[in-house]
Structures are given as C-alpha cells and as structure tokens.
C-alpha cells in the first residue's frame, strides 16, 4: 500500500517535471521568432530604401507636372498623364517616360513592403493604403482621382 503510494507520487513528480520542461522549451521556442513579428510594418529593408531613393530623385522632375495638372494621382496608388495638352509637345515623351518609371517603382514598392513583412498577399492592401495617403497628402492644386473621377485639390 505504502509502496504504491510512493510510486504514484514519484510518477506525478516526474510528469510535472516533464511538463515544466516542455513548457520551458515551448516558451523559448515561441518567444524568439515572434518577438520581431510585432504588429508593425517594416519599411527599412534595402529593397524598399532603394525604391524610395529612386522615387525621391524622380520627384523633382515630376513635381511641375503634378502642379500643372498634366499628371495626377490615380485611385490605385499610381500616377497617370491626366491632361497631355498641359504638357509642351517637346516634353510629352519625357513625361510618359517619367510616369511609367514612377509607376514601375510604385508597383515594386507595394510589392516589396508586402514581401518584406512576410505577407505577399498584403500587396493590394498596402497599395490601397498608399493610394489613400498619397491623395490625402497631395498639396493644393494637384489632381487626385476619386470615386467620381478627377478632383483638383
């Protein structure tokens, strides 16, 4: 009777020790990878920085076209030639080139942010967020595409 009691007690202790050890390992295993995956958006990746620099350099060239209304901000987070007549004939080709280069960068930016955060499926949401913020932050006089077409801010 006594022997049985001792046996079950030591078994209980063994089980408890095992459980504690298991939890400890789980805790260590779970903590380290997720510590970095906080609810945050990482934008300091080399790819994102490179795209950002490229866009920043292009912006000085694009800015006069935004201001004149020749180029506007679209609903899908890109830019487009809104009014080709606002551009001098000699400059039309360069505007088209700037717009397509800018759009390539913007598409890459949204993709890289989604990829850089380990969620490629977030690309559309990143794009929608940017579209909204570009439009919101655009200075007065720029053209922004809304649900009902182009609007001058």
């Amino acid at each position: 009777m006594n022997a049985i009691k001792i046996k079950t007690m030591s078994q209980n202790r063994l089980n408890l020790n095992f459980l504690i050890a298991a939890f400890m390992f789980l805790a260590i295993g779970l903590f380290s990878p997720f510590a970095h995956a906080a609810a945050d958006i990482e934008i300091n990746t080399p790819a994102v920085s490179a795209i950002k620099n490229s866009m920043q350099a292009r912006h000085t060239q694009l800015e006069p076209f935004y201001a004149s209304g020749a180029v506007g901000l679209t609903r899908d987070g890109l830019v487009s030639v809104r009014d080709a007549n606002a551009v001098a004939l000699s400059q039309r080709q360069s505007v088209n080139g700037l717009v397509s280069a800018e759009n390539a960068d913007r598409n890459a930016l949204y993709k890289e942010i989604a990829n850089g955060n380990g969620h490629p499926e977030w690309e559309a949401e990143v794009r929608a967020t940017f579209a909204q913020r570009w439009a919101q932050k655009a200075p007065a006089g720029w053209w922004v595409e809304g649900a009902n077409g182009w609007v001058k801010k």
Binding site: I20, F31, F34, A39, D40, K52, Q56, L109, W134
Partner: protein, 65 residues
C-alpha cells in the same frame, strides 16, 4: 514544492499564450501601414525637410526642442 511548480507553470502559461495572440499578424495592420506609408510619402515628396535633414547634420540643425 509541487505547489511551487504548479505556480511556475501557471506563470509560464500567459508567457506562452500572450505573444502567440499579439504577434501573429493574420490581419493587415492598417494603422501601422498608414504610418509606414506616411513616412515614405514624406521622404519621397520631401514634405518634412527639417526633420529629414537633422540626422545628416546634427550640429548645424539642432533646433531647441
């Protein structure tokens, strides 16, 4: 002794469960994305120049805060 171990176990449980709940981003973190977008837009359009320039020349542009 056993009570102590059980207490330790109970103390460990939230440590396990809390990070699992907080950090697995299944849903798109809209607020964080907006903040990130604003940061990038400010940089690209150079909307906040004095703030951006500060790290480049810490001596020259340190406005009294």
């Amino acid at each position: 002794m056993n009570k102590w171990k059980i207490a330790l176990l109970i103390a460990l449980l939230p440590m396990l469960l809390l990070p699992a709940c907080v950090t697995i981003n299944i849903y798109f973190p809209a607020a964080a994305a907006e903040k990130a977008a604003d940061k990038i837009i400010d940089d690209v359009w150079q909307l906040k120049q004095p703030k951006d320039k500060a790290p480049d020349a810490p001596d020259a542009t340190t406005p009294a805060k």
